[in-house]
Structures are given as C-alpha cells and as structure tokens.
C-alpha cells in the first residue's frame, strides 16, 4: 500500500554521514554494489562493463565538490543515497503499491514483484536516490541493507549496512534517529547535523554532519620562513654567505 504509515514510525532507522571525515574513496559505493548485487535488491545491472559505454545501477554515489573561495575553500565529498524520508513522495506517487515505507522502522523499500517500472517515484525524489534497473525493469534503491541489519546469524557488529561497515574513515553511522538517546541522534545533536534540503518538505531521516571549520592559516606564504636574522647557526651562515 502506498499510503505512508500513520502515525509516522517512532523508530527511524537511517544513516548519519560525516562530511568532515569523508575522503571520497568510494569504498561505500563499491561495498554497496557488492553486497546488494547479490542480496535483497540484487542483481544490480552492469551493462557493457568492459565496453566503450559502461552503465549500471548503483544505490549510492559519491560526488566531489569544492566549496568556498580562496583560503576558505575546501573539498567536500558528498555521498548520495536514499534518505528514507518521513514524507516520502516516492511512496505516495507509486500507482502499484510497490513502493512502501515500513511502519516498524521507517525504511523505504520497493517490492520488486509489483513494480511496473514507470519511473514516477524517481521523478518524485528530489535527491535522485532511485535508479531504474535496465536489466530487470524495476526500480532500485538503498534498502539500508535490510537483509543484513536484521540477520541474527551475523555477529552484532556486522548488523550494519554494507556502506557503514566498509567506510575506512568512519564517516558513516547507522542507527535509530527517532530515539534521542541513540548514538547517532547524539552525534547529530553535537555536530549540528543537517536535514538536507529541508525546505522541500520531505522530512528526510538521514543527516549530514557539516565539515568542521578547520585550522586554516591566512596564507601559505606565512609558513615558509627565512633564516632568523637575529642569530643562531643558520643566521650566521646566512650572513656569511651574503646575498
């Protein structure tokens, strides 16, 4: 059923992504593709993987941006995947009931047996988080690795989405954002986690932690020092050798 759960789920599973520590290594992208290619939403198509125009379906993409000017400028890597919105328009526009939001934890999923591949949900998503798989003809999206996070056979530390497990910079965190006492909720409170494009009204669950201000010098020239004029061995040598 494409109606959103009412009332909204109290449990809000999602990701907290730290833009300060993300180094843009794409490990989460590859881990996501690897796990989900064989897991719940798999297979994920790869068309012409060795040809001149390779294409395929991915549930997570990392974009590299430069923000700000001059000394204030910095690189920001932005990992983009489903934000599991509370007001998920992608769910309500679905004509078949394939797209749904789980009442128990708020995860937005696609029932692939019902999807007709009309693509309207992808149009309705402002974050571009859905891709139509060209091989199976159904919509694919991040599942928060539902086949991992609830699998009791896995050791507890592995019951996190593949992207979180793979991140070498610990920039990705997984948990219940509906519980103010959870580790992820505290992290969001401490660091001023951003609700991405809040003005569009989708009420996303995922949060992005903004880059820290950083220790910046006024200009790089300040760090290259001349030999101290007042003395010392280098000062003496400098004077001895003249101009």
């Amino acid at each position: 059923m494409t109606a959103l759960p009412d009332p909204p789920p109290a449990r809000r599973l999602g990701l907290v992504i730290d833009l300060d520590t993300c180094v843009g290594c794409q490990a989460c992208v590859v881990a996501c593709k690897e796990w989900n290619g064989g897991g719940h939403p798999g297979p994920l198509a790869d068309l012409e993987p060795y040809g001149s125009r390779p294409a395929g379906t991915w549930l997570n993409r990392v974009h590299g941006f430069e923000v700000g000017e001059g000394a204030a400028g910095r690189t920001v890597y932005f990992p983009r995947s489903c934000l599991h919105c509370e007001n998920a328009l992608c769910v309500t526009v679905c004509p078949t009931g394939a797209s749904f939001k789980r009442a128990e934890d708020g995860i937005v999923l696609v029932d692939e047996a019902k999807c007709i591949g009309c693509g309207l949900c992808a149009w309705a998503c402002p974050y571009g988080a859905r891709e139509l798989d060209p091989a199976s003809g159904v919509m694919k999206k991040c599942t928060l690795c539902v086949d991992r996070i609830g699998d009791e056979r896995l050791p507890a530390e592995d019951r996190v989405p593949a992207c979180v497990a793979a991140c070498p910079a610990r920039a990705r965190h997984f948990g219940d954002l509906g519980d103010p006492e959870s580790a992820v909720a505290r992290l969001v409170a401490e660091r001023g986690g951003v609700e991405l494009l809040a003005e569009l009204g989708y009420r996303p669950t995922n949060r992005y932690l903004p880059p820290r201000p950083g220790r910046r010098l006024a200009a790089d020239g300040d760090r290259l020092e001349d030999a101290p004029a007042e003395g010392g061995f280098l000062g003496w040598l400098d004077r001895l050798l003249g101009d």
Partner: protein, 312 residues
C-alpha cells in the same frame, strides 16, 4: 526531463480524445448535434480511437508492462493510479453513449454527462501527476493542471469542428467556440511559461551537498564517469537553448494557424471548409507535439544540481 515518445503520444493523443469525447457528448446533449447514428459515430468513434491509441502508447513507458493492471490499485494516494482508473472507467459511459446514439438514435443524458465528466477528470489526473512533483519546479505550479485541461478542450473543439465539417454536420458552434477558446488557452500557456521562467531556484548545489552557507559549490570529481539511468532521465537540457524559438513555433502551429483555418472554414463552406478543418487539426497536432516536447525537455529536476547545474 527526457521527453519520452510514449508520454508525448499518450498525453497529446488521449488529451485530444478526451477533449473530443467531452465536446461531442455535450454538443449531443444540447441537441446541437442530431440524435442520428451517423452523427454519433463520426465524433465518438475518433475520440475513442484516439483515447485507446494514447493509452496503448503509455504502455511503452513501462519497463514491465505485463504488470500494468497493478496501476489500478493505489487510487487513494497516487494521481497516476487515479488517472488509470478514470481513463478506463470513462469507457463505460462513453460506450453507453455511443451505443444509445448509434444503435437507438437517442442521446442518453446521464451517459453523456458522465462521459464528459470522466474525460475532464482523466485529464485533470494527468495534470496532477506533473503538478504535484515537487522536485521539478517548472511543473510544480498551480497552473499546470488547468493548462492540460485547456489544451485538451481546445484539441476537442478543433477536432469537433473538422469532423462536423467533414461529415456534413453543422460545425458552427464548435467552430465559434474554438475561435473563442484558442486564444485563452494559449494565453494561459504563455502565462505558465512566464511563471516557470520567473520562479526563483529553490535548490543550489551548495545546499544540496549539505553546506549551504560557505559560498558557492563547484563539482570537481564526478561520482561516476559512465552514464546512468537517472542522468538520462533528468539531465536532458538541449531544449533550453532553443526554448524561445520552440515556444513561438508552438504558438504559431498550435494557436494562430488553427485559429485562422477555423475562421476561414467558418466563413467558407463545402470542400474548402473540409480542407480548412483537416489543416487546422494537422497544424494543431504539430503545435501540441512541440508544446509537449518542450514541456518535458525544458523542465529541470533537482537531481541535476549534483551533476553541474548551479541551481534548480
């Protein structure tokens, strides 16, 4: 947004078909058209064929068309599902009207009213599908649905004029109505274009990567070097360079030319009127094709900001 041929065909053909169905049903109800079998069939036949052809074309937009029946289930939340239900449900009164008119030489009032209402409702649903898409600002505005309804009505009136003229029925009223409605319809469309042009962008690249207040953001490393379905679907932008020219062509072929041809057709008669009617329909079809192509091709999706668009 990518202008998919299936969607262009569906929205223009079905829109015209529903417009004609409504116009013909109401003209019959008002006794402007005679309750004779032939008079019913010359209008309702083409209307139902256009609707069915449009619906058939929409099938090609689905990656899994064999499951299309599922689209009738979610009418409580989805405008696309409502459109599917309304489109098919309208066939019942439309066929009842056609049967009464062509088999029993009477125009059942309830069927005529329901067919016209169903036609309007279906086109309204079509408009709402686009008007409710928040990530596409050019579509997400209050006039989008009225424009769809207006263009369907104009198509219906021009078609009704041409069909009445070609079959020896009195094309006076549909012709005059077409002359009155065409300028209003395209005036509304011009206003829709202007409002879309003037709307300030809601999403900047800097906001879209979570750092809205540290200056502008420039993409330096693409997320992927290969293409993607999403980029094909939302990254279409070739039309914007030619938008002004294409808008003028749409106004010429969809508005000015059919208006003049209907006017000349009304002033003349016989063979000349039939030729004018046919030419008006062909010209309107070309104008609507350009208008609808531009409707998709010109619209930006917020997802483009991660791929180099500065603001949407």
């Amino acid at each position: 947004m990518r202008p998919a041929p299936s969607l262009l065909l569906f929205t223009t053909l079905s829109g015209a078909g529903y417009g004609l169905l409504a116009v013909w049903a109401l003209l019959g109800l008002a006794a402007v058209l005679p309750a004779e079998p032939r008079a019913g069939l010359v209008g309702l036949g083409p209307a139902l064929v256009a609707i069915a052809a449009g619906l058939f074309a929409s099938r090609f937009h689905l990656a899994r068309p064999e499951r299309a029946w599922r689209a009738f289930t979610q009418w409580r939340t989805s405008w696309l599902s409502r459109e599917a239900v309304a489109a098919v449900a309208t066939f019942a009164p439309a066929l009842a009207l056609a049967a009464g008119w062509s088999l029993e030489s009477r125009i059942p009032a309830a069927a005529a009213l329901l067919a016209a209402a169903g036609a309007a409702l279906t086109v309204l649903c079509t408009g709402q599908i686009y008007a409710t898409l928040v990530p596409i600002p050019r579509w997400h505005q209050p006039l989008t649905t009225p424009v769809f309804l207006a263009l369907a009505l104009a198509s219906g009136l021009v078609l009704a004029f041409a069909l009445a003229a070609a079959s020896g029925l009195d094309p006076g009223l549909p012709g005059l109505l077409a002359l009155a409605v065409l300028p209003l319809v395209w005036g509304l469309k011009v206003l829709w274009w202007r409002l879309g042009d003037r709307a300030p962008p809601r999403v900047t690249a800097a906001a879209a990567i979570g750092v809205p207040d540290r200056g502008p953001a420039r993409p330096i490393e693409p997320a992927h070097t290969a293409g993607s379905w999403l980029l094909d679907e939302t990254g279409f932008r070739v039309a914007r360079r030619h938008a002004a020219k294409l808008r003028r062509l749409a106004l010429l072929f969809g508005g000015a030319s059919p208006w003049s041809l209907v006017a000349v057709g009304l002033a003349t008669g016989g063979g000349a009127r039939i030729v004018c009617g046919l030419a008006a329909v062909l010209s309107l079809a070309l104008g609507l094709a350009i208008e609808r192509w531009l409707f998709f091709a010109e619209a930006k999706h917020t997802a483009a900001v991660w791929y180099g668009e500065r603001a949407v």
